[in-house]
């Protein structure tokens, strides 16, 4: 039962001046996993390795025991869907955009969508609550609405694994919570396996079952939020003074940032 669904073994991959250094980890089916780490720690590079945008130099990535590099582009798109930081502000209607999620299920040369495609697109537009503005263009939506449409498009791919690359970094708190609650719902109710890059440590702590902390191209620490979000670890990796406490309601760690002025004052008191 403990078998890893997404498994990354000895992964080496990257650019001339930066690469992921022998990464090893696995996540199980139905997990909600978060990737945290400072800028330039290799989070997005890891995603590019999984989606195949970046060629792998060494190592193996398997999804449900299939080696990813052996899957065709189309098969991969049926298994893995990606939502990015900013969903495309293009002049495509929401409905047409969500319908694009059905592309991996059609031949390139199939001209029209099938009735089933429309039904699936409608189902996920209703689920993400974007159906009411399905005729609006993507570039007429607010950032939060667009992210929801992006998730609807990803769901229309009916993937086994949903990758989210900082899906909330450009949203206000109410939209952040809205988007993440939706993802959590999908994770719980549909059993969707989620891997999410997220900068906000408090949101990571609150929503993710477990966290992968990356630093300098390596997997620094892995575990539950309580295990990973220890103030010493965070200060070490982010080179920042923080203060942690338990969220009284969720019992998850909460992280507070402290300004230099306050640090200086507290040192004086000592």
């Amino acid at each position: 039962m403990n078998k890893d669904y997404l498994k990354i073994e000895n992964l080496i991959c990257g650019y001339d001046n930066f690469y992921l250094d022998s990464l090893n980890f696995g996540i199980r089916k139905g997990d909600f996993a978060g990737i945290i780490g400072p800028n330039g720690s290799g989070k997005t590079t890891l995603f590019k390795a999984i989606t195949g945008e970046l060629k792998i130099k060494k190592g193996i990535i398997t999804l449900n025991e299939n080696i990813l590099t052996q899957l065709s582009i189309r098969e991969k798109a049926r298994n893995i869907a990606l939502v990015t930081q900013q969903t495309d502000p293009v002049d495509i209607s929401v409905e047409d955009y969500v319908l694009m999620g059905r592309m991996p299920y059609r031949s390139d040369f199939q001209f029209f969508e099938t009735k089933e495609d429309f039904e699936i697109a409608e189902k996920y537009m209703r689920l993400t609550d974007v159906f009411r503005f399905k005729d609006k263009l993507m570039n007429q939506l607010s950032g939060g609405e667009r992210q929801l449409a992006g998730i609807a498009r990803a769901l229309a791919q009916e993937p086994q694994l949903l990758l989210l690359d900082e899906p909330t970094s450009q949203l206000d708190i109410s939209h952040q919570i809205h988007v993440l609650n939706l993802v959590q719902d999908l994770n719980i109710k549909m059993g969707l396996t989620v891997l999410m890059i997220i900068h906000d440590l408090n949101l990571a702590s609150e929503y993710c079952d477990f966290l992968l902390l990356m630093n300098e191209g390596k997997l620094w620490k892995k575990g539950t939020p309580v295990e990973v979000l220890d103030y010493r670890t965070i200060e070490d990796v982010y080179k920042t003074v923080v203060f942690t406490q338990e969220n009284p309601l969720s019992k998850k760690p909460a992280i507070f940032l402290v300004s230099n002025k306050i640090i200086a004052q507290s040192k004086k008191h000592e």
Binding site: T51, M100, M103, D108, F109, Q110, K115, F118, N139
Partner: protein, 338 residues
């Protein structure tokens, strides 16, 4: 049905454009120095003789076919290139295709090969010049086995500059007769005495339309960028290569046959986008028809405005196209152009 809505609108637009195309076709056959009334046209064509018959079959019908196919082909090439480069300002000529073709033609004229071997050397040289340019842009645009579209665009622009400088050099050292031939060719003309070329152009443009419509859905995905299209299961790298080659060969052929007819590939796809939206399934066919209509009308104007003399068609497409484009752009409600 929910999904019939868009498609009905598409059918409406295509029908409307077809009607317009038929109308301008008839107009272009009637208008000119010799007016041919519509109701006599069929009997003239049936009679196989007479002055009117000669004018129709030797002059007006070939010109009409060329305007139809070159206008359509340049428009779909523009629509495709704007899509794969994700840049609204790209047109067939931005990639140096016209520059390369013009340089080829200038070389032939200056060396006198067209006088020795025959006038067919001009389109051959034009196509060869375009082909060499495409070859250079394509292979310099590939780095480490991966195609880099921005790199290709820059190389194309550079080749344009190099070719136009080369042409100026040739023009500065040659005789005034040759100079005149070069300038005349560069301005673009639909006057093509070779029937074989006319047929080739018509066939190639229709084949190009057919091939690119097959790729309409991948082109839609490419609007999100190469990486995102790949995440949607589209083999973006391969499709970009195929479409680049098809589009540039088509553009090369247009330049070889008709000379440099600017603006069509840039403005027609934009006008169509603002009317019908940017779904490539409808954009390609409507751009083709729109480009055909536009070039047929431009040709009639070129023939009739200062009749019995003729204006270069590039003058008409530039002025009329530019004005129409500004009008459409200023009225368009949509923010983005791509």
């Amino acid at each position: 049905m929910v999904y019939a809505k868009n498609h009905l609108r598409w059918v409406g637009v295509v029908l409307l454009l077809m009607v317009l195309l038929s109308a301008v076709t008839i107009w272009s056959l009637m208008a000119g120095e010799m007016k041919i009334p519509f109701n006599e046209m069929i009997s003239i064509l049936k009679n196989h003789s007479g002055m009117e018959y000669a004018v129709l079959t030797n002059i007006r019908i070939p010109r009409l076919l060329l305007a139809f196919s070159i206008g359509g082909a340049l428009s779909i090439t523009g629509a495709i290139l704007q899509g794969i480069y994700r840049n609204p300002l790209v047109e067939p000529y931005t990639l140096g295709i016209s520059g390369g073709a013009a340089l080829g033609v200038a070389l032939v004229i200056v060396s006198g090969l067209n006088l020795k071997l025959g006038e067919f050397m001009l389109p051959v040289a034009g196509f060869a010049g375009a082909f060499v340019t495409i070859f250079i842009v394509y292979f310099l645009g590939i780095k480490r086995g991966e195609i880099n579209i921005n790199r290709m665009l820059l190389i194309g622009v550079m080749i344009s500059f190099i070719a136009s400088s080369g042409m100026m050099f040739l023009m500065s050292i040659t005789s005034s007769d040759n100079l005149h031939s070069i300038i005349f060719w560069t301005m673009g003309s639909l006057d093509e005495p070779n029937n074989m070329l006319v047929k080739t152009m018509v066939f190639a443009s229709l084949a190009g339309l057919f091939i690119t419509i097959m790729f309409a859905q991948p082109l839609n995905a490419l609007r999100l960028g190469e990486a995102k299209a790949t995440n949607l299961g589209i083999n973006a790298a391969l499709i970009i290569r195929i479409l680049f080659v098809v589009a540039s060969l088509l553009a090369g052929l247009c330049v070889a046959v008709g000379g440099i007819i600017g603006f069509v590939g840039l403005i027609i796809p934009h006008i169509m986008r603002s009317i019908i939206g940017s779904d490539y399934r409808i954009l390609l066919i409507s751009s083709f028809l729109g480009g055909s209509i536009f070039l047929i009308v431009s040709d009639v104007l070129a023939r009739t405005v200062i009749s019995p003399n003729e204006l270069p068609i590039g003058v008409i497409t530039g002025i009329a196209g530019g004005l129409v484009f500004i009008l459409v752009l200023s009225r368009s409600k949509q923010k983005s152009v791509l």
